[in-house]
């Protein structure tokens, strides 16, 4: 489902004397449907960078990133948009939304863009929010005022409302209490069971051990010269 070959990436800082900073070289990995892989490595090793490249957020210099048959390195923007809409889900650590939109609508949005009727999309969103223990009185408020843990759960709800065949999870259990952590872990297990290919960054080692079939150490992808 997700297949990466010979991927490399460097940043060129034109406004700082044109400094070139290589951050990745010769990355290869493959995650099949129903499989969950964890990216590991020290801070700064490139876990988030790799994740962002798979999401299409960072450009690659060479190689290929295939998700469901689309190569993100060469794909046109609209193909990446279609991929994000239908195939590839992403739970980031940050919540970026229009300030006054209600939490229910924020969560329902991925379904609305897919053309799901609004009542159905909202019903699904409410079910997920309830499961993630977001108090009902918050549903009509904008999540921008929520606590970190609540925002995290809103992000998770957004990422799980559509059964994406491929999922990217950036620290999904960070800043969650035990009960909510359990809910999120079972959501991930359900996604795995329905055949989603999952790549995640988990600092929560117990979660990693419970969910992941494989660990991928991104230190191996760090350019030797720069390291």
């Amino acid at each position: 489902m997700i297949e990466i070959e010979n991927l490399s990436k460097s940043f060129t800082l034109h406004n700082q004397g044109g400094a070139v900073i290589p951050v990745m070289q010769g990355a290869n990995l493959r995650v099949d449907a129903g499989e969950c892989a964890a990216l590991v490595g020290a801070s700064g090793a490139g876990k988030s960078t790799l994740m962002r490249m798979i999401w299409g957020n960072y450009l690659a210099q060479t190689g290929s990133i295939r998700v469901g048959g689309v190569d993100l390195v060469t794909a046109a923007p609209r193909d990446i948009l279609a991929l994000r809409r239908e195939t590839l889900g992403y739970v980031s650590q940050f919540l970026r939304v229009v300030p006054r939109v209600s939490t229910v609508d924020v969560v329902a949005e991925p379904l609305l863009t897919l053309g799901t009727p609004r009542p159905d999309a909202r019903a699904r969103a409410e079910a997920l929010l309830a499961r993630l223990n977001i108090p009902k009185r918050l549903w009509s408020l904008s999540p921008t005022t929520f606590s970190g843990g609540e925002q995290q759960r809103v992000n998770i709800a957004r990422g799980f409302i559509h059964p994406y065949p491929a999922l990217l999870l950036d620290e999904p259990t960070a800043s969650l209490d035990a009960a909510n952590r359990e809910v999120v872990l079972s959501l991930i297990e359900e996604a795995k069971a329905r055949g989603a290919a999952i790549i995640g960054i988990f600092h929560d080692e117990a979660a990693r051990a419970r969910l992941c079939d494989r660990l991928i150490d991104v230190t191996g992808f760090t350019p030797k010269a720069a390291a």
Binding site: F11, T12, L13, H14, N15, R52, G56, N57, Y58, L59, P77, R78, I80, L81, A82, R85, E86, R96, V97, V98, P99, R100, V101, L112, T113, L114, G115
Partner: protein, 263 residues
């Protein structure tokens, strides 16, 4: 099934080598891009970068010196620059819409809110007062203006309401392509957020395509699927909005992104 795949797999707007000079100065030059149904394209750049010139050329308000602007009309793709004027004007009041930065440029200030919204309907031949009134009421509701303001003139409205009224006036005939020139400029931030949310909802529900010119990177991040960065009349970079903003490649884009004040 996605919204995009339900529609024909052809670009809604194909722009090729569009150029406009003001004497020896470059307005914009060699601009080419495709806009697909349902897509929102942001055009950013500093003042004088040619983004407004480009928008005016695209919308037919300004005659470019060369290039093509091919629009997928109901009768197939047509170069709007070579269309007859009546055809282009008809397009401008049916399939196209233009939202001005200053609502005073896009509204009739001496005409009531209902008349402003109804004008495009009357222009395409609606001759039933009741149905015009119903459509106007419906649209005022959709842009969150109280229905009992329908007989007030826009001069009695706040800036944000005027801008929303302008949007209602433009969208009432169900256009497929909307040009927006700094739609949130001149509004305070809380009103901006409301307008952005409204625009996102309308774009999604109506399957609209939009081209938005702005210098506000926060606006494009929330509204635009794709981004085009202009400098001195040239497009220096284009791509997915979040990719251009988070991993800018061109020196100018890097400067632009790093210059934004963080809140």
């Amino acid at each position: 099934m996605s919204r995009i795949e339900k529609i024909t797999p052809a670009p809604l707007l194909s722009v090729r080598n569009l150029s406009k000079r003001y004497g020896s100065r470059i307005g914009c030059t060699d601009v080419s891009f495709d806009l697909w149904p349902g897509e929102v394209l942001g055009i950013v750049g500093e003042s004088g970068s040619g983004k407004s010139t480009l928008l005016s050329c695209l919308a037919g308000h300004l005659a470019p010196d060369g290039g093509e602007v091919v629009f997928a009309t109901v009768n197939g793709p047509q170069d709007t620059l070579r269309m007859s004027e009546p055809d282009r004007r008809r397009l401008a009041r049916t399939d196209w819409a233009f939202v001005h930065q200053n609502p005073r440029d896009g509204l009739r200030m001496g005409v009531t809110a209902g008349g402003n919204v109804g004008e495009r309907l009357m222009a395409v031949g609606t001759r039933n007062y009741g149905s015009i009134r119903d459509a106007a009421t419906d649209w005022l509701g959709r842009v969150e203006i109280d229905a009992n303001r329908i007989d007030d003139r826009p001069s009695a409205f706040s800036g944000g309401m005027q801008q929303r009224l302008q949007i209602a006036r433009n969208l009432v005939t169900g256009p497929r392509l909307v040009f927006m020139d700094e739609p949130t400029g001149g509004l305070d931030v809380s009103v901006q957020a409301r307008l952005l949310d409204l625009l996102r909802g309308l774009v999604r529900e109506m399957g609209l395509s939009a081209i938005i010119v702005t210098h506000d990177l926060a606006v494009v991040r929330l509204l635009a699927d794709r981004l085009m960065v202009m400098k001195s009349g040239h497009v220096v970079e284009q791509g997915l909005t979040d990719q251009v903003l988070d991993d800018p490649q061109h020196p100018y884009t890097q400067l632009l992104v790093s210059s934004v004040l963080q809140v």
